[in-house]
């Protein structure tokens, strides 16, 4: 899923400073799963903003609404009747949400309440880690299902680099060296020879480097 963090209260307060009536829209997708932008978080943010604004002597009116997904026009339609009742709308979805909202309702102002971070998963309660960089051509079968593109700090296809020590990446003792894991897994399985191959330079055209991407499923297009 897409993992995000909520922006700081100060930053959000600053963004919506000129407005007195706002709507906060949550998303029941990824950001609900990573406890950032679901109905509960929308409520928490609304309360915090009201308290903050009251303290500043500039009270604010806030409505809350959480929809199924903000990355789908079908659900975004659910705001059709209410979107223009507000000075501004804060989206608690990943970056796709406020953009889909902006496109659907061009006359309204939309602000992101979260920082969209990466594709990852929960490795333990409350901790999410990056697992994929969406490069568009998956090659993890060469590396026993572990991704050096997203998980090596230098996206090396022939690691580990000279900075790997005690299973940690050179950039920080808090970062795992995925190459250390890849090599150890190969060693355990007696398949170190797999890593004696030299791989061609990656074609990044399927990644963001090829420009904004599109995925078309002909059978579904009407």
């Amino acid at each position: 899923m897409i993992v995000a963090d909520r922006k700081s209260l100060e930053e959000i307060m600053d963004m919506i400073k000129p407005y007195n009536k706002i709507l906060i829209v949550g998303c029941k997708g990824c950001v609900t799963v990573c406890n950032v932008g679901g109905a509960k978080e929308v409520g928490v943010l609304a309360a915090a903003l009201k308290i903050g604004r009251k303290k500043d002597g500039n009270p604010i009116e806030i409505d809350e609404k959480t929809i199924e997904r903000q990355c789908d026009p079908e659900y975004i339609e659910q705001l059709r009747d209410i979107y223009d009742r507000y000075d501004a709308v804060l989206s608690m979805a990943c970056g796709v949400g406020p953009q889909f909202l902006s496109e659907a309702y061009p006359s309204q102002k939309f602000f992101p309440a979260v920082n969209t971070k990466f594709f990852g998963g929960a490795v333990q309660h409350g901790i999410w880690e990056e697992r994929c960089a969406g490069c568009g051509t998956c090659i993890i079968h060469y590396y026993d299902g572990l991704c050096p593109i997203a998980r090596c700090s230098k996206s090396l296809q022939h690691g580990p680099c000279g900075g790997s020590a005690n299973g940690k990446c050179e950039i920080s003792k808090d970062v795992e060296c995925i190459w250390d894991t890849i090599v150890k897994k190969k060693m355990e399985q007696g398949r170190l020879e797999d890593l004696r191959q030299i791989r061609a330079a990656k074609d990044w055209q399927t990644a963001r480097d090829g420009g904004p991407r599109k995925s078309i499923r002909e059978e579904l297009v009407q």
Partner: protein, 313 residues
């Protein structure tokens, strides 16, 4: 092409091919456009080494480009070993720079992935890592031996580089280090310069593996030496520099030398190392990285008995 059977015809290649024990130095370009400062640094190395590595935004700190500094060296009659890291450029910029420096007279290059920008003075920067060091080695070889760019297009006048790569026998997992070296040699490295060595038993073991695997027949391995200036530097390197293996005994030896004598002890250790490398099977030379201590190189070279440097025509 008439290069008398040489791949590049660089001085370093000639010295190694003739079977001499090579001795290379290093020079970090200045953090500014001060050409005089650069010249002052490399002048200490004139005649004392076979080629001088020119670092490329070393430790991710911005400096005069290694391409420009290398060209200045060429113009001043000193042979550079142009370093290139994968962190700062994509394949287009890399190939362009390779052609550029070659046209300015550079004949050796060292292919590196580069330290992550997190260490440097612009941790906010976006890195590139379009290709990795292995792919860079293969790319330079392709340009030289096939006369082609990475996209298979023909190069009019290919750059004929003596291709170098780095090896760190001390990073983890240790068992894999020799494989990575073998891969770099397969990819096309003609010579290897190792990370600075302090743990001699481990390096002996690494070299034995390299000899057993026949790697030393295929590429020249230069052992990395950096003289310690003090016990504090040793402690710092042990703790802070990733992939560096500094044994306790060495730190203790420097401490025991006492105040004011630690630098001399560090140099003594470096000289003992060089003496041992001269005899070690598979070691083709020494790469002396006297970081910001270029003025000590002549003395170290003299005392290690590697002077005068051979002249190969």
């Amino acid at each position: 092409m008439s290069n008398n059977g040489y791949k590049s015809g660089s001085n370093l290649e000639k010295v190694l091919k003739a079977g001499h024990f090579a001795f290379t130095g290093e020079c970090g370009p200045p953090k500014g456009a001060n050409v005089e400062h650069l010249k002052e640094k490399f002048e200490h190395l004139r005649g004392k080494v076979d080629s001088v590595n020119v670092t490329d935004n070393q430790t991710a700190v911005v400096r005069m480009s290694s391409a420009a500094a290398s060209a200045i060296m060429v113009a001043n009659g000193i042979e550079p070993n142009f370093q290139m890291v994968c962190r700062d450029r994509n394949r287009l910029a890399m190939m362009a720079d390779i052609l550029g420096v070659y046209s300015l007279g550079v004949r050796n290059m060292l292919c590196l992935s580069g330290d992550h920008q997190k260490f440097g003075n612009h941790p906010q920067s976006k890195n590139v890592y379009d290709i990795d060091s292995m792919q860079l080695i293969a790319m330079v070889k392709k340009m030289r031996d096939e006369g082609k760019f990475l996209n298979e297009e023909e190069i009019d006048e290919p750059p004929r580089m003596f291709i170098g790569a780095a090896a760190n026998p001390f990073a983890d997992p240790y068992e894999f280090r020799i494989y990575r070296l073998a891969n770099k040699i397969d990819a096309g490295a003609d010579f290897i310069q190792t990370q600075c060595i302090y743990n001699m038993p481990r390096f002996r073991d690494f070299m034995k593996q390299a000899v057993d695997m026949g790697l030393t027949e295929k590429a020249y391995i230069l052992a990395g030496v950096t003289p310690m200036k003090s016990a504090r530097m040793a402690q710092y390197m042990a703790k802070m520099v990733p992939g560096m293996d500094v044994p306790e005994e060495l730190i203790k030896r420097l401490q025991d030398a006492g105040k004011g004598k630690q630098a001399e002890e560090g140099i003594k250790f470096a000289i003992e190392q060089i003496e041992e490398f001269k005899e070690m099977e598979g070691v083709a030379g020494v790469h002396l990285m006297a970081i910001e201590w270029e003025h000590k190189v002549p003395e170290i070279a003299e005392r290690a008995g590697v002077l005068p440097r051979p002249q190969v025509n």
